[in-house]
Amino acid sequence: MTPALVTVVLGLGLAGAFPTCVVVRCTPVVVFLAPLVGAVLAAVAVELELVLDGPFLLWFLVVVAAVNGGAFCLRRSVGGGRAPWGTGSSWKWFLVTVGVLVGVMVLPLAGLRTPLIGFDTNAIWLTHTLLVSGGHHTLLAGMQNPAYVTAHPDYPPLVPAAGALAFALFGTGTLRVAVEVTALLNACAVGVVGVGIASIGAGGRQAARTVALIVAAVLCLVGFAVAGDYAVNGYADLLWSAAAVGAVVWGLVLPRNRQALAVAWACAMVAGLTKNEGLLTSLVVLVLISLRYVPVRWPRPGGHTTTATADRTRRAEARGWVRRAVSVVGPALPGLIWVGLVRHDGISDAFFAKTTSESIALRARATTAGMAVHLAVVPVALVVLAIGCGYLRADRVRVGIATPAWLWAAWIGALAGIAGTYVLGSPEIHWWLQTSDDRTTIFPVFLLYADLAVWLVVATDGLLTATGRRSTGGGTAAGATGTTPAGPGGLDAEGPVPAATT
């Protein structure tokens, strides 16, 4: 376990810590996000390794130096007034949040005491990790070798990259270290979601903050529960799913500000570089985030009185669409580059390689039935949504978070994307579903549990506020304590989004 911890904390965490602190500042999310950012850098190093000659470790060091140098320049250019270690929340709250979330995740990570290794871990992830460890020629030859077709050589490189870093640091004597690194990255992604939920109560009174933190801790346990054995046996499904849920929570639920947007983009990068369905889901989430941060303003009929006004409006609309496109393509770029590279090398997705004799209707029916088995939380989430939208809207506005429509749009879009893959893909549908639908539904299920957690925090805050109003004779909790709803982790309060962010 120690080599995996050293790899994640010192290898990946240190590599990603400074850039993350510069953009997100030293809030609790940095502790969980920095190793994930480090893993993104490692995945980009694999892309360079595939294109150019040289070993993985060399490219990793080059990418880390370049990104940290860029972050240093960025920090200098914005001036010392915005110190990266200037915190929005107290160090005490920082330590309590991190301590509680790490503390609860030790429980499900106890599963690592058993050296579980999943089927795909052997067939796909450890194989890819050994290919990455072998350097440019081994990687390229391996990906093009037909003997590896069952290892899905087109799968994105983040998990193999993190494992290859462990092999570079500790040798390949114990392959299991790569499995443990994946499990710890799973925990980091779940932790990012947890900090997002905990920060919902950051602007309120102590009791509301405490409740939010407890709910966040419970949600972290739920993340591992939804994934089951896949959380600790080397599979990558919890990693992309939790990262995508993190992107939704930070980008589509929490108040709009630069730091939340940066966390959401980083999470989307992680999801897009972890699995193909992660890239699909992250694109859906990124489109929604771009629409939330750069809202579309539909022209009113007869609203333009002059041609000049109409021209200005059209130019502003065009600029808006450019900004939206950039904010979708930018964070997805590392994942899209990988797709381009594997296609360039003649490697195709095995799931769409052949045509199927099964009808679309049959595949659609099987997909609906297969996925529905795992979506038992949907009815509860819908009931809570109905009650919340009917009676708790004011509570939600007071807490300062977005309408649940964004989260549900992400849920529907991602679920439709995954279901569409099953329907349009080529493997025999019943076998395909049987071997994967419990993993592809981790994202939609975990996202709905996150929605329940959000409503739980909102409702509790409402109850505490009502109690406060009764005891003080009026006013809201925020008003009574003289605070305003703050952003995640005590970051900027929600307001107009700075143009630079998008």
């Binding site: 005491r113 290794i117 529960a225 009650i387 329940l452 109850l463």
Partner: protein, 132 residues
């Protein structure tokens, strides 16, 4: 509709309905999250049970032993064809040869064949290496 009237405590109209809605949301969400946590706890308990630890430790030892055997019995860079009746064993052997030898899809271009057979050298199995 009685709760829509101002009460003697000075609560705003709809206060009771709002409180009931919040309590309902808290209960439903807490129950759903709680059930999931309990399910997760059962999964972790099963993973860490004594029989599970013994079985998986044996599996891992077996795998690492085969990994070492491949590197000691095959020359580096050799072309190998995996011959085994069990599909999973085939995938495992392809994985474990990666970075040392070059697996082939068919037997024709391979200089060596490898397989997993019952034996004593690797916790109940042995690596079978043959020159073609």
């Amino acid at each position: 509709m009685a709760d829509d009237r101002p009460t003697t405590a000075g609560n705003p109209p709809g206060h009771r309905t709002a409180v009931a809605a919040r309590v309902a949301v808290v209960c439903l969400a807490a129950l759903a999250l709680g059930f999931s946590v309990a399910h997760g706890h059962r999964a972790t308990t099963a993973e860490t049970s004594r029989p599970s630890v013994v079985d998986w430790t044996r599996f891992t030892d077996q795998e690492e032993c085969i990994y070492r055997a491949i590197r000691s019995e095959l020359p580096a860079g050799a072309t190998v064809h995996v011959v085994t009746a069990v599909a999973y064993d085939r995938l495992r052997l392809i994985e474990l040869t990666t970075g040392w030898a070059e697996p082939t899809r068919t037997s024709a271009p391979a200089s060596w064949t490898i397989g997993i057979v019952p034996g004593a050298s690797c916790a109940g199995v042995s690596l079978d290496v043959r020159r073609t």
